[in-house]
C-alpha cells in the first residue's frame, strides 16, 4: 500500500488541447478516492498518467513518496482495471490472472496459490479454465478485478469498471467493490462519470471539469457545501436547480427575487452566509436542491415560502414524484424547476400545485466566478 500523489500535473496533447491543468491531489494510503466529472474533463488522462501510459507535460506523479514520471508502467507497482475489462481473449481466466505475475518473474509455485486465492475471493474458482468469451459481463468484470488483485499492488487504478454492466449488476458490483476495498484497504483511484457511484463508493470524491479540479472532499461535504455552481449541479440527482435571481433587502432582512416569485431569506441563513450582504441589490445564482422543495400540503409547519406553481410534468416513480414546473406564470415563466416530492403528493401534470421551499437550505453562487457565496 502507498500514497498516490499528483503535483502541479499538466497534460497538453499535440494540437494544443489541454486535458489536465495544474492538478494537485493526494490519494491517501488505503483511501478509496473517486475522480468524477463529465466526459472530456480529463479524469481518464489523470489515471493514464498515474499508470504511466501517458506522459505528463509538466508536474509530478508520486507513488509512495517517489517521483515515478520516468518509471515504466510495470515498475510502478500499480494495477489497473479497464472500462472494457481488456481481458486477453485467447487466454483462460487462470492465464489472464497469472500473466502479469509471470511477466514480473514470480515463480510458478507462487503464482498458483495467489491466483487461486484471488479466484476464491472473487468466486471465480469454477471458471478458471474458461475463456473470456464464455463469461458473462459480471464474471468478466470480476476476472479483470482478479487480474489486478493477484498483483498485490501498492495502488489500484480503476477506469469506469462498472460502466459496461447493466443497471442491476452495476449496483451489485458497486457493493462488491466497496466490500473488497474494506477487506484489502489498498489505495484506489477510481474514475467514473456516474455521480451516484462516486457518492456511494468514495471515501473522498474529486470533481473535475475541463481538466481542472473543482473540489475534493467527502461525499457529504460535496453535497452540503459545494465549492461552486458546477459541483452543486453535478453532485446530486436530480441535479440542483440553478436560477438567476436578485438579492434585495435592508435593515438586516433580505429576500431573493426569482422572476415573479420573491423568497424571504431567514435571518439564520444570512448569519451563516455573511458574504451575502455584499450582494444586496445585485444579481446572483440561487441553488435549490430538488429534495428541498415539497408539496406544501404535506409540510404544514414549513419554515419556507409557499408558492403557487403550474406543474408541467409529474413523474410518479413509486418512492417519489419528480415534478417539473416554472416558478413564474405566463409565457415568460422562466426555466423549469425540478422538485423531488413525497409519493403522497397530489402533483399532476398540467395541474396547479402549492410548493414549499426549505429556505434554510438555499445555495448562492457568484454569477461571474460561479464560486459559492459563503
Amino acid at each position: 500500500m502507498a500514497e498516490l500523489e499528483f503535483r502541479n500535473l499538466r497534460k497538453a496533447f499535440p494540437g494544443g488541447t489541454v486535458a489536465v491543468e495544474n492538478l494537485n491531489l493526494v490519494v491517501a494510503d488505503g483511501e478509496f478516492l473517486v475522480l468524477v466529472g463529465p466526459s472530456g474533463s480529463g479524469k481518464t488522462t489523470v489515471l493514464r498518467m498515474a499508470a504511466g501510459l501517458e506522459r505528463a507535460t509538466a508536474g509530478d506523479v508520486l507513488i509512495g513518496g517517489e517521483v515515478v514520471n520516468d518509471v515504466a508502467p510495470p515498475d510502478r507497482d500499480i494495477a489497473m482495471v479497464f472500462q472494457t475489462y481488456a481481458l486477453y481473449p485467447h487466454m483462460t481466466v487462470y492465464d489472464n490472472m497469472a500473466f502479469g505475475l509471470k511477466l514480473h518473474g514470480v515463480k510458478k509455485n507462487d503464482i498458483r496459490p495467489r491466483v487461486l486465492s484471488a479466484a476464491e475471493m472473487l468466486e471465480l474458482g469454477d471458471l478458471l479454465k474458461r475463456k473470456p468469451s464464455q463469461l458473462s459481463g459480471g464474471q468478466r468484470q470480476r476476472v479483470a478485478m482478479g487480474r489486478a488483485i493477484v498483483r498485490e499492488p501498492a495502488a489500484y487504478l480503476m477506469d469506469e469498471p462498472l460502466s459496461n454492466l447493466d443497471a442491476k449488476l452495476r449496483v451489485e458490483m458497486r457493493t462488491y467493490l466497496a466490500e473488497l476495498h474494506q477487506r484489502l484497504r489498498t489505495s484506489t483511484l477510481y474514475v467514473t462519470h456516474d455521480q451516484t457511484e462516486a457518492m456511494t463508493m468514495g471515501d473522498r470524491v474529486a470533481v473535475m471539469k475541463d481538466g481542472r479540479l473543482q473540489q475534493v472532499d467527502t461525499p457529504r461535504v460535496l453535497y452540503d457545501r459545494p465549492a461552486n455552481a458546477f459541483v452543486a449541479g453535478f453532485i446530486g440527482s436530480p441535479a440542483m436547480n440553478l436560477l438567476r435571481g436578485r438579492l434585495t433587502g435592508s435593515g438586516g432582512a433580505a429576500s431573493v427575487s426569482l422572476g415573479e416569485s420573491v423568497l424571504p431569506l431567514p435571518r439564520t441563513l444570512l448569519a451563516r452566509r455573511p458574504s451575502l450582504a455584499g450582494y444586496v441589490g445585485r444579481e446572483l445564482v440561487v441553488g435549490i436542491r430538488p429534495e428541498d422543495i415539497e408539496d406544501a400540503e404535506l409540510v404544514p409547519s414549513a419554515n419556507g415560502a409557499s408558492l403557487p406553481v403550474q406543474v408541467k410534468l409529474a413523474e410518479a416513480l413509486g418512492a417519489e414524484v419528480i415534478a417539473h414546473f416554472p416558478l413564474g406564470a405566463g409565457d415568460d415563466a422562466g426555466p423549469l424547476v425540478t422538485a423531488r416530492l413525497s409519493p403522497r403528493s397530489h402533483a399532476r401534470s398540467g395541474k396547479p400545485l402549492q410548493v414549499a421551499i426549505d429556505l434554510e437550505r438555499l445555495y448562492f453562487f457568484d454569477p461571474e466566478s460561479q464560486e459559492a457565496i459563503v
Binding site: A51, P73, P74, T84, A86, L87, H90, G100, L103
Partner: protein, 298 residues
C-alpha cells in the same frame, strides 16, 4: 368489416414471408447458375487431369477426349524420371515448398509486426512512412526486375533460392492488410493492459497482437503461399533448370523439345496444383472465418 381488417394483415404477412423466402432460399435457377460457375472454374483442372492421363495426341484429338485415360501414372513416372525430362521435378517441388513456406511465414510475421507499429505505436513520421509503404503498391513489379537482378548478381545469389526468397520477405499489401485489421480489431485498452502487466512493445506484439491477428494471418498466409507458389516471372529470371521452382520446371518441360509434350506439361501442372489444394483444405475454414471477421470489423 372485422373479417376484412383481419384479412389484410394475413395477406401482408404472407407476402412478407414470400419475400423472406425469396431471399433466404435458393431456387432452381440459382442451382443451375452455380453449377455452371463450378463447371467453368473446375474445367481447366479437370482438362489438365484428362490430358495428363493420355498421351500427347489427346490434346489434338477430335472429338476431344473428355474422360481420364490410363496413362496418368506413366506420365508421372516420366515427369519424375530426370533421364526422360531435363529438369529434376522432385527438386522443383521441394524448392517451391521451401520458398513458399519461408516467404509465407516471413510475410505474415513482418506484415503483422509492421502493421502493429503503424496501427498502435506512436512515432514520428508514422503516417508518412505508411503512405510510402502504400505507394510501393503503385509501382509495377516489372519496373523492379532489372535493379533487383543487378542486386542479386552483386549478392552472388543468382541460381540460388535466396534470390527468390529475399525480395519477397514482406509485402506492402500484407502490411496494409494487417495494419487495417489491427487498427480496427485490437482495442487500445488491451495493449494498455498488457503494458501495465509488464509487456514491452515486443511482448505486446508476441503475447497480444499475434494471437489476435490469427484469422487474418491465415488469410494473408494462404494468399501469399498461393502467389509465391504460382510465381513464374522472377524465379524464371534468377533460377536455372538445375535448381528451379515448380513453375520454372513446368516451363522448362514446355520448351525443352521442338514439339511440346502437352501430356507431360499438364501432368506437371496438375501435380503443381495439388499442394495448393491441400493447404486450402487444411486452412479453408479458418480462412473463411477470418475473411468474415475482417468484413464485420471493417
Amino acid at each position: 368489416m372485422v373479417a376484412h381488417s383481419e384479412a389484410v394483415p394475413r395477406r401482408r404477412r404472407r407476402s412478407h414471408r414470400a419475400v423472406a423466402r425469396r431471399f433466404d432460399s435458393a431456387g432452381p435457377f440459382t442451382y443451375v447458375f452455380l453449377i455452371l460457375v463450378v463447371m467453368v472454374s473446375l474445367f481447366p483442372l479437370y482438362w489438365s487431369l484428362v490430358v495428363a492421363s493420355h498421351d500427347n495426341a489427346a490434346v489434338y484429338a477430335y472429338p476431344p477426349k473428355l474422360l481420364p485415360g490410363p496413362n496418368l501414372f506413366h506420365n508421372i513416372h516420366r515427369l519424375f524420371n530426370s533421364g526422360i525430362v531435363s529438369v529434376d521435378f522432385a527438386k522443383a517441388l521441394v524448392n517451391s515448398a521451401i520458398v513458399s513456406s519461408v516467404v509465407t511465414v516471413t510475410v505474415v510475421f513482418f506484415s503483422a509486426l509492421a502493421g502493429f507499429a503503424f496501427a498502435k505505436l506512436d512515432f514520428r513520421g508514422r503516417k508518412l512512412l505508411f503512405v510510402l509503404v502504400l505507394a510501393t503498391l503503385l509501382v509495377p513489379v516489372q519496373l523492379g526486375l532489372i535493379p533487383l537482378y543487378i542486386e542479386m548478381i552483386h549478392f552472388g545469389w543468382l541460381n540460388s533460392l535466396k534470390a527468390v526468397i529475399a525480395p519477397n520477405l514482406v509485402t506492402a499489401f500484407g502490411v496494409f492488410l494487417m495494419r487495417q485489421y489491427i487498427a480496427g480489431g485490437v482495442p487500445n485498452e488491451l495493449i494498455a493492459a498488457a503494458r501495465v502487466d509488464g509487456c514491452n512493445s515486443w511482448r505486446v506484439f508476441w503475447h497480444v497482437i499475434l494471437p489476435a491477428v490469427r484469422p487474418m494471418a491465415a488469410v494473408l498466409g494462404l494468399l501469399t503461399f498461393m502467389n509465391t507458389w504460382n510465381d513464374f516471372l522472377w524465379p524464371l529470371i534468377v533460377l536455372n533448370a538445375r535448381n528451379p521452382t515448380v513453375q520454372v520446371a513446368v516451363a522448362d518441360i514446355a520448351t525443352v523439345a521442338y514439339t511440346p509434350d502437352y501430356s507431360l506439361i499438364l501432368t506437371g501442372c496438375f501435380i503443381s496444383i495439388l499442394p495448393l489444394l491441400v493447404v486450402f483444405l487444411l486452412l479453408g475454414r479458418q480462412i473463411v472465418g477470418g475473411i468474415m471477421q475482417g468484413a464485420v470489423k471493417g
